[in-house]
């Protein structure tokens, strides 16, 4: 039952990633692209966690944590750049 659920959830997350990619390519404004990139980060964390559950190891936890931190830092850096035109004042 768990392996079926993992496959089903992985399919849903892949569809979600494709939708995010569509928004990132399509997005009328730069903020839409930033938001789509942030959501792609979260979805890829979900995919990595799912792979870790499937393999039964905790090795992928650090990768997921790193991607979470990098996603937040990149989002805030891009927003800061758009707000001020400068990253470090």
């Amino acid at each position: 039952m768990l392996s079926w659920a993992i496959n089903f959830t992985a399919a849903m997350i892949c569809i979600a990633l494709i939708l995010n990619l569509w928004r990132m390519v399509q997005g009328p404004s730069i903020q839409d692209r930033i938001l789509a990139l942030d959501t792609m980060c979260i979805n890829s964390i979900a995919l990595i966690i799912l792979y870790g559950i499937n393999m039964g190891t905790g090795l992928y936890f650090e990768a997921a944590l790193l991607i979470a931190m990098m996603g937040f830092v990149s989002t805030s850096a891009l927003c800061k750049y758009l707000l001020r035109g400068d990253l470090i004042e």
Binding site: M1, L2, W4, A5, I6, F8, T9, A10, M12, I13, I15, A16, L17, L19, N20, W22, R23, S29, I30, Q31, D32, I34, L35, A36, D38, T39, I42, N43, I45, A46, I49, L50, G52, I53, G56, G58, F61, A64, L65, A68, M69, F72, T75, S76, C79, K80, L82, L83
Partner: protein, 130 residues
């Protein structure tokens, strides 16, 4: 793993995946940037939180000891998702992006986008006022 635990875990897993998908559908379908912020910030955060809960339960059962370090990512995402959404919304208002025509209170967008950030001496000036 016992059958009942596996059933509960599979249910929460599908629930979390469905919320991730719903958040991304909201990102595609909703009409403007201010409404589009709702999908990824709320639905996706709930989805990833349930996925990480499943991961914590599964690794606890497999190792035989309680492992809660997956909840660290949950905590981090729960803290950072509103912050990044706030920053994106501020950027959108700074760039004067048009809101959807059925958005209420649109007359407040213009003065709010011109509002200056509060500085360090704001409180002193407020207390000096009669």
């Amino acid at each position: 793993m016992e059958t009942w635990l596996e059933g509960i875990v599979a249910l929460i897993l599908v629930f979390g995946g469905a919320f991730l998908l719903i958040g991304s559908i909201g990102l595609v379908r909703l009409p403007d940037i201010y409404t589009r912020l709702h999908g990824p910030t709320k639905a996706t955060t709930l989805g990833i939180a349930s996925l990480l809960l499943v991961s914590a339960v599964v690794s606890s059962v497999l190792q035989g000891t309680i492992s809660v370090h997956e909840l660290l990512i949950t905590l981090f995402l729960l803290i950072t998702a509103p912050v990044s959404a706030n920053m994106i919304a501020k950027t959108a208002m700074h760039h004067d992006l048009p809101a959807w025509k059925r958005t209420q209170g649109q007359e407040l967008i213009e003065p709010a986008s011109r509002q200056a950030a509060p500085d360090d001496h704001q409180e002193e000036r407020d207390t000096k006022l009669p």
